[in-house]
């Protein structure tokens, strides 16, 4: 098998056990610190820790920021609109998971 020769790559699951600094998040999402400040202001991502230098973001923040950036770029919404869409999408996914259980 050809595939057996490929190296097995291990990634990082972006869950609540992963913590990112402001610099990590900026790097992963290709945003400036100023842009991340705006996202924090809107509550799109919620770091823990006092002061930007000590901020810690959960791994799931990467997905939220990516999604917010795409929604803003593609749909012309502002950060507040993207924040609303993200919260509604989270709820939608929860409900779809639940619905699958009852439709299954």
């Amino acid at each position: 098998m050809k595939n057996q020769l490929l190296p097995l790559l291990s990634g990082e699951v972006l869950d609540e056990n992963v913590e990112l600094s402001l610099a990590d998040l900026c790097q992963a999402c290709r945003l400036s610190a100023e842009q991340v400040f705006e996202l924090v202001e809107e509550g799109i991502v919620e770091p823990v820790g006092q002061g930007a230098a000590r901020w810690r973001f959960q791994g799931v923040s990467v997905r939220r920021v990516h999604c917010a950036v795409q929604l803003r770029r593609d749909l012309g919404v502002n950060w507040a609109g993207a924040a609303l869409a993200l919260d509604l999408l989270d709820e939608l996914h929860r409900l779809r998971d639940r619905l699958r259980r009852f439709e299954g």
Partner: protein, 314 residues
């Protein structure tokens, strides 16, 4: 190459105003946005709409496209007429935010040269590669035990002529134990290659569970419906219950009713903390398919004086 009818894709008339085109785009973008849409092939539609808008929102490109004539039909075999774009000048940088590497051959053949900067080599140009995104379909079992998956990704890279081209890459990726539906795995440096000395982008894999005939995951918890006989529910019993990690003995408490949830702590998706497994009781009725079975039901009717609709007041 197939002709693309950008007006048809956007659902607007050929004489639509720029405002109408923008409104149509916004509406379709919301409908097909990959982060929002549940439509089948949403991503495909979204790219198509993005490409159509890229042309129609720009008066110069739109005029050039219109010049091809209104007689073309979508899907028709198309070759650009020679010198078709004479008198038009496509300014670079028209690609506001759109990912031009995703556009069709049809688009490339018409507007490609403006984008590629006339094919001039740009030796001093460096940029980090694009991040790549892909979905990985796994079984619930893989989340319990871990697995590996072989993925084929289409990456865009710059060819020697300075134009983007698509190259396929095959990756073998470890799916760690304990992943959940909708989670992302980041593989640093496994995205598209960088340009010049730029570093490659990252690869993001979104986990999606294949649907299972009887298990359903919600976050880290897993649910399974377990049929029980009426006497098992009423009198209590120890019954076998399936779990993704193997069958277990489950105590059904006496007086259980259909819909009762029994929690098996820590038997959901593994992790820190592990999820729980919820067994939902479904009372199954034995068929009254023999004289003896009918007699038992008749005996129940006489003895139990049971009105299942009492709480409805009837």
């Amino acid at each position: 190459m197939e002709f693309k009818d950008y007006y048809q894709i956007m659902g607007v008339k050929r004489d639509a105003t720029q405002d109408e085109i923008k409104r149509a785009y916004r509406k379709l973008a919301r409908k097909y946005h990959p982060d929002v849409s549940k439509e089948p092939d949403a991503e495909l539609h979204f790219k198509e709409v993005g490409e159509a808008y890229e042309v129609l929102k720009d008066p110069e490109k739109r005029a050039a496209y219109d010049q091809l004539g209104a007689n073309w039909r979508a899907g028709q075999d198309f070759r650009p007429p020679p010198e078709w774009d004479q008198g038009f000048e496509f300014h670079g940088g028209g690609f506001t935010g759109a990912d031009a590497s995703q556009f069709s051959d049809f688009f490339e053949s018409l507007f490609g040269r403006g984008f590629a900067g006339g094919g001039r080599p740009r030796p001093q140009f460096h940029a980090r590669g694009e991040d790549a995104h892909a979905k990985v379909l796994i079984d619930l079992d893989d989340a319990y035990h871990g697995a590996s998956r072989t993925l084929t990704l289409k990456a865009t890279e710059l060819g020697p002529d300075g134009r983007p081209r698509v190259k396929e890459r095959v990756l073998n990726v470890r799916i760690p134990k304990g992943v959940r539906q909708g989670q992302h795995i980041r593989l640093a440096g496994q995205g598209d290659p960088g340009i010049g000395q730029g570093k490659p982008g990252d690869l993001y894999l979104e986990i999606e569970f294949r649907s299972h005939p009887f298990y359903h995951a919600e976050g880290r918890d897993v649910f399974v419906d377990l049929p029980v006989a009426p006497w098992e529910a009423a009198l209590g019993a120890t019954v076998k219950a399936p779990t993704p990690a193997g069958p277990v003995d489950l105590k059904v408490p006496p007086g259980s009713v259909g819909g009762r949830k029994l929690r098996l702590q820590g038997r959901g998706i593994p992790g820190n903390p592990a999820g729980d497994l919820y067994v939902v009781l479904k009372v199954a009725l034995p068929p009254a398919d023999s004289a003896a079975a009918k007699a038992v039901y008749q005996e129940m009717e006489r003895t139990l004086k049971f009105n299942p609709r009492a709480h409805l007041g009837v």
